[in-house]
């Protein structure tokens, strides 16, 4: 298993620098300064402090974020966090860079053939050598890799020696999302799920705090309705389309909410959808399903219920309240938060899950209360696995 290829890269870069002195290489910076000079890459970020938006911007260097899936959304996400000066990034992906990826941002044609995590670590370290980057080049959904994934994001993963501060799911498939969901429920880690639809014209992010919000297994996957008649949607001959625009927008939403969560400013969105065809952005808050199939989700829900009421829904800070944030002396009377037409936000009662209009479940699952009699059921009494394996092999 290939993992933790730490920064031999930096060494390589330094050597490269000696050979090619014409290319300037950004040196490490020990402390973030707010001094506004050409040579300070952090001056505009530290200005957020002076403007009173963020109290403690330099704290960003203490945080460790795991990015799972380094594709069209994940690579841009990792780049944004790198430019923001995040402390440490853990990158997970098993894919290689292909020329077919060049309709997306971040990767370049000369990187074709490299593993995505390796190519990304290279670029990211070059952009900002202050960020520690660890790469994990494997598929997290298989049994052995999943255990390594759990170890990587929990015990020793972060700069502080504890679990990572946040997991960002930027994967493109249901299996990997469910794997991240079970890991985070088990470890009690907060994470953001993100996604872009296969027709490339909608996307979403979803913040999941185990036990406090709906987990990814609490309900069938949610989709932002694109208002395209399914019958007219031609899927013959292709699996998926993609646009750098939609992916970039979703990555932007994801990192914006990551910064708000980590640095404790503004309001973190629990669910933020994006319909590219109508520029519609539904938001909502989903409660966990008490009958969730994931036993760790249920366990986390019980823990939340057992907590004193004040602590509930606390998160890292108090900015999760559904309060309306309006600017104090807002002379134009602009409401900064809720720009969605209230009529569009009316909850669709038929959905019964508190889903906001414009978002629907990808499919429905009948309640397990209705018992079905299966006449044709396996009966394994009295047979051993070895016998069955042998029988299958002999066929």
């Amino acid at each position: 298993m290939e993992s933790t290829k730490k920064l031999e890269l930096k060494q390589l870069l330094l050597e490269k620098q000696k050979q090619e002195p014409a290319h300037p290489v950004r040196e490490k910076i020990l402390q973030m300064s707010s001094e506004v000079v050409d040579s300070n890459p952090y001056s505009r970020l530290m200005a957020l402090k002076r403007m009173g938006i963020v109290d403690n911007y330099e704290k960003i260097r203490d945080f460790t974020v795991a990015v799972v899936g380094i594709g069209g959304v994940g690579s841009v996400t990792a780049e944004m966090l790198t430019r923001c000066g995040i402390g440490k990034l853990l990158l997970f992906d098993y894919d290689k860079v292909e020329l077919a990826n060049m309709n997306r941002l971040f990767f370049q044609p000369h990187q074709a053939g490299l593993s995505k995590v390796e190519a990304a670590a290279n670029t990211l370290t070059f952009i900002n050598p202050d960020v520690t980057v660890e790469t994990y080049n494997y598929n997290i959904t298989t049994v052995d890799n999943f255990q390594d994934f759990i170890n990587g994001i929990s015990s020793h993963g972060s700069l502080s020696g504890g679990p990572v501060d946040l997991v960002l799911s930027c994967v493109d498939n249901f299996e990997a999302r469910m794997a991240i969901n079970s890991a985070c429920n088990e470890l009690n880690l907060c994470w953001f799920e993100s996604g872009v639809s296969e027709n490339a014209v909608s996307g979403h992010i979803q913040f999941i705090m185990p036990g406090e919000t709906a987990c990814f297994a609490c309900a069938p996957p949610l989709v932002v309705a694109s208002n395209i008649d399914e019958k007219t949607l031609k899927k013959d001959g292709v699996c998926a389309a993609s646009l750098p625009t939609t992916m970039g927008i979703v990555a932007g939403f994801l990192v914006q909410n990551t910064l708000k969560y980590l640095l404790g400013f503004g309001q973190v969105s629990y669910y933020l959808g994006y319909n590219a065809l109508t520029d519609f952005f539904p938001t909502m808050h989903l409660r966990p399903n008490p009958a969730c199939d994931d036993s760790f989700c249920q366990q986390r829900q019980d823990e939340v219920k057992a907590r004193p009421p004040k602590e509930q829904e606390s998160g890292r800070d108090t900015s999760f309240d559904d309060k309306e944030v309006t600017h104090e002396d807002n002379e134009w009377g602009i409401c900064l938060v809720d720009e969605t037409d209230p009529s569009e936000l009316e909850v669709d009662k038929n959905l019964g899950q508190g889903l906001v209009a414009g978002v629907k479940a990808a499919y429905s699952i009948p309640s397990s209360a209705a018992p079905e009699v299966d006449t044709n059921q396996v009966d394994t009494s009295g047979v051993s696995l070895d016998d069955l394996m042998a029988q299958m092999k002999a066929m």
Partner: protein, 167 residues
Amino acid sequence: MVDEATKKSLTCIPVLKTKAGPRDKDLWVQRLKEEYQALIQYVQNNKGADNDWFRLESNKEGTRWFGKCWYIHNLLKYEFDIEFDIPVTYPATAPEIALPELDGKTAKMYRGGKICLTDHFKPLWARNVPKFGIAHAMALGLGPWLAVEIPDMIEKGVISYKEKTEG
């Protein structure tokens, strides 16, 4: 929806009982027995219907599966290797069946040669957890995929017939 032939072969596969994934130790062994039993029944059904089209086996943990499938087109038999891992979230999520040698030859595939399933597959699978197993994934996923994609690929000339020594 699902075509009649698929529906029929699906209903003849016994359904599974144990909801367990590869991280569930003893329960997984029980599930694995059920998987094998359903697969054996399905292959027998296929043979009986003169439509024998795949073989599968697994490592001893039952986490990695491999085998062959074949498709008859104009009296010629086209054969392909199958492989897939059982995801940790199985059976809540279906296995992603792959035909690695066809990777890059058709757009109806994801990276690594994983077949691109119809929109019907996932809802149907989700509604039938834990009753559907590998045999159902083959009948509902790979079977219909081969029937559509292989003739198309032969016609386009991206795959050609290879003489096989063994029958």
